[in-house]
């Protein structure tokens, strides 16, 4: 304070006056203090709720029961959790998913599906995904779709379904949805790990990616730039699944084993991460489902029978086809040696 360094005479006078007033006040209140039975205030040193909340942001003590998490007397963070869960989350998830559906709808009606070219449907085929790759894809896909629906039920069920079914039937469905969500988590986790192992080598960024992204993959006009087994768009899908799936798996496992590895703060954070990542990944997967089905003729075969038309493959993944052909020629040449 400036006054402390160089006290002005007027301020000194003021301070003396204030001191005199304070003494007079203390003398005046003195008898009231003395009226206390013990003559002192035993709460003077005691902990107060506000003090603890200010210092520690939650009130925690000692308990004599085994359940350690119950030592928290008060956690105001519950309010943030509530604000997120009832305020932010429905909007974030709703907007992410609806915006994606609207965007795809507009794209479909403006540009329509990516058509087959002449000769891309009845020529010789090439194996794009073998049986194990397709199994992995569909195991992950099925569990993801069911996890997404049962997960969305936690957020939107009471808002959309409960008014239709009534509380009893909705609660029954939600109970089964919860079981399904907990159990389908495991095939999903295994699926993501398998996909990582199967496809990571084909999803490392390469020299074709930048050109592909610059041209928007030919989705908005122009020719589709060449790509190896996976183009930059597919790589983005792959990495969203791997990174998003990892975030969902870790946060999900924390929730399936509540309080096993973390306290209440960690449990709340796990929910924040799980729900936001899930909303974003659902939106991304809607785009992926679109392009794999009605969005692109010929794409379904890749994950259906696993065989795609050779011309179709040359059109969309020329570098990959060239590699495959080379490899086949090599192996064909091998026995002759």
């Amino acid at each position: 304070m400036a006054t402390r360094r160089n006290p002005e005479p007027a301020l000194v006078t003021l301070r003396v006056l204030a001191a005199a007033l304070a003494v007079a006040f203390l003398v005046g209140v003195g008898p009231a203090v003395a009226q206390q039975p013990s003559g002192s205030n035993p709460t003077a040193m005691s902990v107060t709720e506000e003090g603890l909340l200010r210092e520690l942001d939650r009130v925690q003590g000692r308990i004599t029961i085994p359940d350690g998490k119950l030592a928290v007397l008060e956690q105001p963070q519950g309010r943030d959790y509530r604000r997120f869960h009832e305020g932010w989350l429905p909007w974030i998830a709703g907007i992410a998913i609806l915006a994606m559906i609207v965007a795809i709808g507009v794209y479909y009606f403006v540009r329509g599906p990516i058509r087959l070219r002449r000769g891309e449907e009845s020529g010789p085929t090439i194996l794009r995904f073998d049986a194990f790759e397709r199994f992995t894809h569909w195991m992950t896909a099925t569990s993801f779709i069911l996890l997404a629906l049962t997960g969305l039920n936690y957020v939107f069920g009471k808002r959309l379904l409960m008014p239709l079914f009534g509380p009893g039937a909705f609660a029954e469905w939600s109970q089964w949805a919860k079981y399904a969500h907990n159990f389908l988590a495991w095939p999903f986790i295994i699926g993501v790990l398998l996909m990582l192992a199967l496809w990571v080598k084909d999803n490392v960024p390469d020299r074709y990616d930048l050109a592909w992204l610059k041209a928007g993959g030919g989705l908005f006009g122009g020719e589709e730039p060449p790509s190896a087994r996976f183009n930059a768009g597919q790589k983005l899908i792959f990495w969203s699944v791997v990174i998003g799936g990892a975030a969902l798996s870790v946060s999900g496992i924390l929730m399936v084993f509540p309080f096993a590895l973390t306290g209440i703060g960690g449990m709340q954070t796990a929910q924040y991460v799980h729900s936001i990542v899930a909303a974003i990944l659902i939106a991304i997967m809607i785009a992926h489902i679109y392009i794999g089905t009605i969005g692109m003729e010929g794409a379904w075969n890749a994950m259906g029978s696993g065989q795609v038309d050779l011309d179709w493959a040359r059109h969309h993944h020329p570098v990959w086809v060239a590699d495959q052909v080379d490899r086949r020629l090599d192996s064909a040449a091998a026995p002759a040696e």
Binding site: Q35, P42, V47, L52, P76, G78, E86, P258
Partner: protein, 198 residues
């Protein structure tokens, strides 16, 4: 109708845990479920205080807000009760509750939670009053018998009080005026959004 509340006078609580025992016994609360508990703050240090806490039956209940199946309801007495028929055991209410009141029996695989259990203010649940069905799920309905919660009734130092909020506030105010000090109404601001003079 009265607005029922709990009040724990931390200057009187001696951490005897009689409230916990009374609750457990009255409602046949299973192992691992803790409808009420006593927490000691600053244990062994000057200024140590113990507080008995359970569901506070909040005015704007966070548990009810975050419940994905809307299993909570408010009674005419201002109590927050819930239906175990609707509860799916998701655990959200525990994350939202400022007091850690909701409890879950462990069932089945992993950390699977069964139907949530919590303090009912000895007022049962949605089943008809004082029926076997109500007792099995929620414990005894003392309010229907014209009695107040057993935890507070059995408190030896009358630290824990349960009943009409206005009456509790009046009792506490008188205490503070008589002894010349108080240590705050633990949890009242969080639960009821207001607090009497300490």
């Amino acid at each position: 109708m009265a607005r029922m509340k709990f009040l724990c006078d931390a200057n009187r609580c001696i951490e005897c845990n009689a409230c916990v025992t009374a609750c457990k016994n009255e409602h046949d609360v299973p192992w691992g479920i803790q409808r009420r508990r006593v927490i000691t703050l600053n244990d062994g240090k000057p200024g140590e205080r113990s507080v008995s806490v359970s569901c506070m039956h909040c005015t704007d209940a966070p548990c009810a807000a975050v419940c994905p199946v809307d299993c909570f309801y408010r009674t005419d007495d201002g109590l927050i009760l819930h239906s175990k028929d609707l509860c799916i055991g998701c655990g959200y209410c525990f994350y939202a509750c400022p007091f850690g009141a909701p409890q879950y029996p462990r069932v089945g695989n992993f950390g699977s939670r069964g139907k949530m259990d919590k303090c009912t203010f000895c007022a049962g649940g949605p089943e008809p009053d004082s029926t076997e069905a109500e007792y099995v799920k929620y414990g005894r309905n003392r309010l229907a018998e014209g009695k107040l919660p057993l935890c507070a009734s059995m408190c030896s130092t009358k630290s824990l009080l349960a009943g009409d909020g206005e009456v509790l506030e009046e009792i506490y105010r008188t205490r503070v005026a008589t002894r010349g000090y108080g240590s705050g109404l633990w949890g009242w601001r969080t639960a009821y959004g207001d607090t009497a003079e300490s």
